[in-house]
């Protein structure tokens, strides 16, 4: 069965520091991978996605993620965190069901706090 693990429930970083959020997935075939961000009281916003090709993908707000098949990982990175990045981040895995993503499987999320 598909699953997604985000090992870190809560991370605190200083503003201007680099950030890496971990995501590990379990999936038999080539997965479709996503990172979403959720600000308090808001819906989920898509940051970036990986379907195939270049394993380093760029997203919005200066985020990037790298797909590593050998490690079953899709970690999210940002070189310099801003206070506005404080939010909860969700990794998700899906598969193409001949036209749709079908059921996205989400990790439990990592809450990011940013210190001034």
């Amino acid at each position: 069965a598909q699953s997604v693990t985000q090992p870190d429930i809560h991370i605190t970083v200083s503003e201007g520091a680099s950030l890496e959020l971990r995501c590990n997935y379990s999936y038999g075939a080539t997965p479709y991978l996503f990172w979403y961000v959720q600000s308090p009281g808001q819906g989920l916003q898509l940051l970036l996605k990986y379907f195939s090709g270049d394993t380093l993908v760029q997203g919005i707000k200066g985020f990037e993620a790298e797909f590593k098949r050998s490690q079953s990982s899709f970690n999210l990175r940002k070189p310099s965190v801003h206070w506005s990045d404080a939010a909860e981040y969700f990794c998700a895995v899906g598969q193409n069901y001949g036209g749709s993503q079908g059921n996205l499987i989400f990790g439990k999320g990592t809450k990011l706090s940013v210190k001034p």
Partner: protein, 112 residues
Amino acid sequence: DAGITQSPRHKVTETGTPVTLRCHQTENHRYMYWYRQDPGHGLRLIHYSYGVKDTDKGEVSDGYSVSRSKTEDFLLTLESATSSQTSVYFCAIEGDGTDTQYFGPGTRLTVL
């Protein structure tokens, strides 16, 4: 932002009452989804639709039903609300062939 609205945005109800949540899209997308979000669980799929009158169950469908009579609307009904259904409910839409889901703003439901 994708054209998705959810109504109501907040609702408080009592155990045993029926509740209907509405998801409305202006994107004419084929696929629509209902998820619930609970602390420590991430998002879990309740039901989804792959076209008008075409729906299927997700991971946590017990106690929920859905209907889709028009492309733009996907309704989620709790036939008899229970306290365990207190949650934040998100609707998502996906265009055919895009392989990407976009989420609405959510509905916070409290069942007393």
